[in-house]
């Protein structure tokens, strides 16, 4: 039980710090990103959710959670495919940057926490994180990535991804309620 509380606290701390980092209003400085850096952030953000889905596939036995994580893996893989095709067409090479690195650092902590849980605790931790993660990524795409993007095709791709992210969030919130009521 004590261990469970610690896990909840750890995920909460990492999640809140992620939201604070990705929300320009909270960050000390609104980072300026080139299109190559925006492309990198987009790919990294999608890959992180694929990684979370892979953990869910290994650690959950809940059919709703497994189905949701499968959808996350397929959808985010499709988005990376679209992004890869676009950057190739535009001749842009995604460039590593502070935002990508921060995302990866936070994801590493969350993956460690998720990998240390199992059963119902895992299901709750995974879905709670999916809700928080999608909220923060939607916020980042709307208030950071789209405004920073100069190329209209890259901006259009980001705008086209937003409805999928919002649907994922809605689905995750629905599962969060279902799991909490079990």
């Amino acid at each position: 039980m004590k261990n469970n509380n610690f896990l909840k606290l750890a995920i909460a701390i990492v999640s809140v710090s992620l939201v604070m980092f990705l929300t320009p209003a909270y960050s000390q400085e609104n980072p300026k990103l080139s299109d190559a850096e925006v492309a990198s952030v987009a790919v990294v953000a999608n890959q992180i959710d694929i990684d979370y889905a892979e953990i869910a596939k290994k650690r959950s036995k809940n059919k709703d959670v497994l189905k949701f994580s499968g959808t996350m893996k397929n959808d985010h893989t499709a988005v990376i495919g679209q992004a890869a095709a676009l950057v190739k067409k535009l001749g842009v090479t995604p460039k590593d940057n502070a935002v990508s690195q921060k995302l990866l650092a936070n994801a590493k902590k969350i993956k460690t926490t998720l990998n240390s849980t199992s059963g119902k605790s895992f299901d709750k931790a995974y879905i709670d994180n999916e809700v928080t993660y999608h909220k923060s990524v939607i916020n980042a795409v709307e208030s950071l990535l789209i405004p920073e993007t100069e190329n209209p095709e890259l901006r259009e791709l980001l705008q086209n991804v937003l409805p999928a992210l919002k649907t994922h969030l809605e689905h995750a919130v629905m599962l969060q309620t279902k799991i909490a009521n079990k």
Binding site: D75, A164, H171
Partner: protein, 114 residues
Amino acid sequence: MKNTIDILKFSIWTICTGLFLLSCKITPETTVPAKHIVEIKAMKFQPAELIVNSGDTVIWVNRDLVAHDVTEEPGKSWTSSVMPAGASWSLVVTKSADYYCSIHVVMKGKLLVQ
């Protein structure tokens, strides 16, 4: 002679007109089944609610970046199976139904047969 030809012409015209009017009356009223397009775009069925006649064909076209499906609910009595981006699927509709995307369960649509 001329009078006979005129009478013959008039008779033929009367018979043809009569037959035409008769054929219009005895031919049963038929409507050609219509085709309707539902676009799957921005994670929504557009239009989400569609009114059709029994026998009409509805074609769903996936214009999103991600795969979807079209599945009757709640019984899953028919489904498109997975439709990758760019794919389409059609159904001849004979009764009203609610449907959803079983991949993204918050996406819902409705077919109303009038």
